[in-house]
Symmetry: C2
Subunit: 515 residues, 2 copies
Amino acid sequence: MYGAQALIKTLVDSGVEVCFANPGTSEMHLVTAIDTVPGMRPVLGLFEGVVTGMADGYARVAGKPAATLLHLGPGLANGLANLHNARRAQTPVVNIVGDHATYHLQHDAPLASDIVGFARPVSAWVHTATSPESVGADAARAVHASMQAPGQVATLILPADVAWNEGGIPAPAVPVSGPAQAADAAVARVADAVRSGRKVGVLMRGGALKERGLLAAGRVATAGNVTLMADTFAPAVQTGAGRVPVTRLPYFAEQLVEFLAPLDVLVLVNTKPPVTFFAYPGRPSVGKADHTELLHLSHPHEDGAAALEALADALGVAGADPVTAPFRVDDTVGDKWDQFAIGRAVARHLPENSIVVSEGGTQGGGTSAALATGVPHDVLSLTGGSIGMGLPVATGAGVAAAGGQKVLCLQGDGGGMYTLQSLWTQARERLDVTTVIFANRSYGILQIELMRTGAGSGGEKAQSMLDLGNPELNWVDLARGMGVEATRATNVAEFEAAFAGAMGQRGPRLIEAYV
Amino acid sequence: MYGAQALIKTLVDSGVEVCFANPGTSEMHLVTAIDTVPGMRPVLGLFEGVVTGMADGYARVAGKPAATLLHLGPGLANGLANLHNARRAQTPVVNIVGDHATYHLQHDAPLASDIVGFARPVSAWVHTATSPESVGADAARAVHASMQAPGQVATLILPADVAWNEGGIPAPAVPVSGPAQAADAAVARVADAVRSGRKVGVLMRGGALKERGLLAAGRVATAGNVTLMADTFAPAVQTGAGRVPVTRLPYFAEQLVEFLAPLDVLVLVNTKPPVTFFAYPGRPSVGKADHTELLHLSHPHEDGAAALEALADALGVAGADPVTAPFRVDDTVGDKWDQFAIGRAVARHLPENSIVVSEGGTQGGGTSAALATGVPHDVLSLTGGSIGMGLPVATGAGVAAAGGQKVLCLQGDGGGMYTLQSLWTQARERLDVTTVIFANRSYGILQIELMRTGAGSGGEKAQSMLDLGNPELNWVDLARGMGVEATRATNVAEFEAAFAGAMGQRGPRLIEAYV
């Protein structure tokens, strides 16, 4: 058994079933190891930003890591932006990065680079394998590191000779212990605050935003003056009819401050104190008012859902009926062609338990609003602000959604162009992913931010840097070029017909909503 | 004057005329500074790997740096792979990377990351600006650093408040001193070696491969038993009829060793001892034989062309007539549809002084062979092995080619998919770039390397990771989706008609050579 086989066998034995890959010469033995060791499904991406984004989307749905296979430093570099997003999503990811043979590194060949340097800013764990005998153990540790609660990026660098030399020994999986419990004292303090009748905001993230945590939070809310909130860019939220609704924090600084101002107490569940996404001249960075007391119920590595259940227990509302969202879908079609009409059409046709990947930029809000009372579904958001996660995360979610859930990707055109190669993988793997491109032919958010930062409205050169309309992109051509069926919709009726059609079939489909 | 204006004014005063940009919120004041300070041309790219590749291509043609404008750490991260290539090409590049306001960094907002960490592996110079008063001086130093011979990547990080605060002071340009002279003793030693009649190989890179250096090298070759050679992946070579021909080192290890084995002396001109691109089990890493003496005529930061002229002087052949390539174009069309037929067709129609960007992978050799005796032209190659440089480098070359040179991009389909967004910028800027996509629907080089690394022929899973044929990409659709006219050629006659048409007009055009 050569080193690469020991590595792949260990990954499989540790529960890693999928390897998102863009290999090169230095990874040829990894490629054949995937071929000869049973249990690993390779999924090819044509660009590494697609590969790492797929791994993020896969793990958010599967609840366990996928591996990535990347070609030396530059291959990792191409995947860094979506690893930044995965890091901010606290997603477990195991990167396997090939490198030159150990004895070849000294020669500074063209592809040599500081791989560890590239890896560090996104990785909680980085290690370079040194022998076929120990690479299995390294792989087991990498998987374990990725699963350290709440989840993180682990990067294992594999020199080519460690991969190809004989002597590989697969290692048993390292037991994963799961999240810690929140401190009893933290639960007691928050219980006191809720009982006091003061205005309490409960801000949640992570596992707390899954059904079980939401149910407990909804019960807590019956015991006092409590508002339930979620981070603006929480990695995953379960929402829709029958679920306890939470309000996402507003994006813009002044709205965030205004929203939080009335609170006497802000309780954090698996998250940090809210800060503005960007700084703006003369505006605050911190969301919380000075007069608001800050309490931590649970930290990100702790079990937020269990902490909320303990809190409900302490408050004596463990059996209470929480407020849940009604099922209410708006049948108004109307003539106005905008994001709200799109949202209503989506809500009318989306199947239950769909996975909605949300990178709609300035155009996505209409769908979020309509889906709040739509069928129960999961929403995966852009966590790290690096646009270009929507298409690959949806692709990875499609790989994970073995149970037949539909994946809907809401994608702005600007962000979509970063990682459009994702569509090819959707076609190859015949994934059940429908993509809606909001084609407003603009970096719409920057048109707003140009004013908000005080930079002014901008002259011709400035506007040219925010404009995607010269020439216009044609997403139907782009999708077809990668083997995905596509339609352009220029009014509500066209959109609804295309969307209903996509929901009624399986396999990848793209709708360009030309707004 | 706010800080961003002082920065842009300083760049302009330091000779930087073009800014390849993909801005975000934190760069809005840079955007308006480009708008309000005369002399800077912004060129938008839809993905940062396109932005940095364009900067590389621009500088290889213009002989001076462009600036890039990148959005925080993830924006830089997306550009790193082509900055790796630029670093290996020794291309001057000035990156301006926006960051959060200084006082906002402490809050670890979603887009915060270790920008310096991302920058270091590719940058010879990294600095974070601290005030509007000093950012002009920082910009002047960044340009100067980028121009340190032979050229390097300089990265200036610009916090948003440094950009937007008043008090900016533009700084005068820092004088650039140019390359050093080679040591007299080095010239004398090489002269002795040539005079000795031993078999001498002169291996060149950098400025030595421009017309003046080649002419001097050709004269040196008349004075002894001398073979003129170029690095396999030299950044830029002037070649074609009337120029002194040089042989590129072979790519594969055993061919490299065989090629260099007969030499008694290997003379390096602005390059390093040749090593194999990758290591292979049981094969050597070093190209040079043990019995071959190694001499440095000039180091990369020295003036290689001047060193070759001094060498010709020392040998008394400063007035000699060197061997130059004849003009010989093969009129054979033939029925066989392969890279050699494509190469012959290219050679029949390429205009003089074209710039040929070469990332043809396994399909590019036919054109190189045919063009060796074609019209005089410049060849820009992939230097760092990170595929996906062809399209953006050609785009940047098109921006620099103000004199009306045609740019021809020879691009493999696998590499092309990494940075296909380049085509949109070509369309927007109406650049005179013709792209030939070699569509073999495969990572062709990996099919070869799979065998060569001893990894075997691979089963179904392994082959699936090297295959781009399921589904097939359609480059005509992809190009049209980004506003570039395109044609598919499936035989020699179709290709020649399309290519002749492209050469006879101006503006971007793509030909998918379906081989």
